[in-house]
Symmetry: C2
Subunit: 237 residues, 2 copies
Amino acid sequence: MRYELYYWPSIQGRGEFIRLALEEAGADYVDVARQGKRGMAAMMEFIEGRRIKHPPYAPPFLKAGKLVIAQAAEILFYLGPRLGLAPRDEAGRLWAHQLQLTIADLVVRIHDTHHPVSGWLYFEEQRPAAKQRTRDFWRYQVPKMLGYFERVLARNGGTYSVGRRLSYVDLSLFQIVEGLRYAFPKRMKRFERKIPKLVALHSRVARRPRVKAYLTSARRIPFSQWGIYRYFKELDG
Amino acid sequence: MRYELYYWPSIQGRGEFIRLALEEAGADYVDVARQGKRGMAAMMEFIEGRRIKHPPYAPPFLKAGKLVIAQAAEILFYLGPRLGLAPRDEAGRLWAHQLQLTIADLVVRIHDTHHPVSGWLYFEEQRPAAKQRTRDFWRYQVPKMLGYFERVLARNGGTYSVGRRLSYVDLSLFQIVEGLRYAFPKRMKRFERKIPKLVALHSRVARRPRVKAYLTSARRIPFSQWGIYRYFKELDG
């Protein structure tokens, strides 16, 4: 089956968690909105469209045969066992999904460091709030959330977060570390000594042949000043 | 099976979406942390605990036999078909879950109106940011998100959001309307004419015998100045 992924064509964003899974699995997929104007029009038609039964609220969404599903964590829940990137039994699938939903919560918190007041205002228009939110984020949320994933890894033997092989959760944790390094290079450098297992997981994922090939390909959209992870010198205290 | 729900005993919060489903279904369950000090200790043991295989990051979580799962949306995904509150086929379950995940996104946005900068500071310490965030919330996010659910209802015939009978999504949408009325009585009153189907759904859910009995029982924790929905006169412009 050829999967169709629909996501904004110029950012990694929430779509990246799905791209990483499709790439690692060597899945047959097309990143529709990146196929020129027509692809973008096709995506918008789904969102506005009256023609489908279950319209998504927002990208990312995935078309798999007749099924159209949205929400990054749900898409990974669906794809996981099909791509060999999640356990097949119910308890294992639910555990991977639960971790992915906690990653999704973290992603909201990461985004809101630079836009705590409004997504419709520039960073410069919400600078004091952003600084305060970022301070809190690094003081409370990062230690608590990354500390949790570090313990999950440790408890599972240290190599994988779920089960006895690589899962989409591991790929997403790679993207969390990678993005925090981009957005907060100084803060992350200081913090990494507290999460050695996550850092080692990041390195192992980066070295996997398909992930490595993807990261250096034109299919990997570079980090930028759009999307979840953004670099502002004054937030990287 | 007797389900064990674990959630903070003094707020509705995210646990309420699950309580509503268990109540509507007449399920056999115990709200563990509300059973005195021992219940609270049992909850904390799960969170800190080294004894379980899949430790939750935070409440709410559910114990169903040997299974322990967290994240409100995942718990409802699991309970839905078992309580007769979701379709049983994969496409229907995924659609209900997708809607619930979008409700979860809305819940974060509702909470952040009064605490946009930090959950560790009082409202009074982040008042300007809260006012700006609330303005944005009502100008952009509420029309977009509640407008989406209004269309979902309309497209499905107007009575239920998913399938041909009541689902946990309908119960959660009831709680969204109920909470917005508590936190923003004036703003919500003005806005409701734009979402007649959601308002009618709220009324129908409130009249269901088990929901009605629950809402007037001691098991329903009152709204307060804690949790997701909080009333601040200055935010209800």
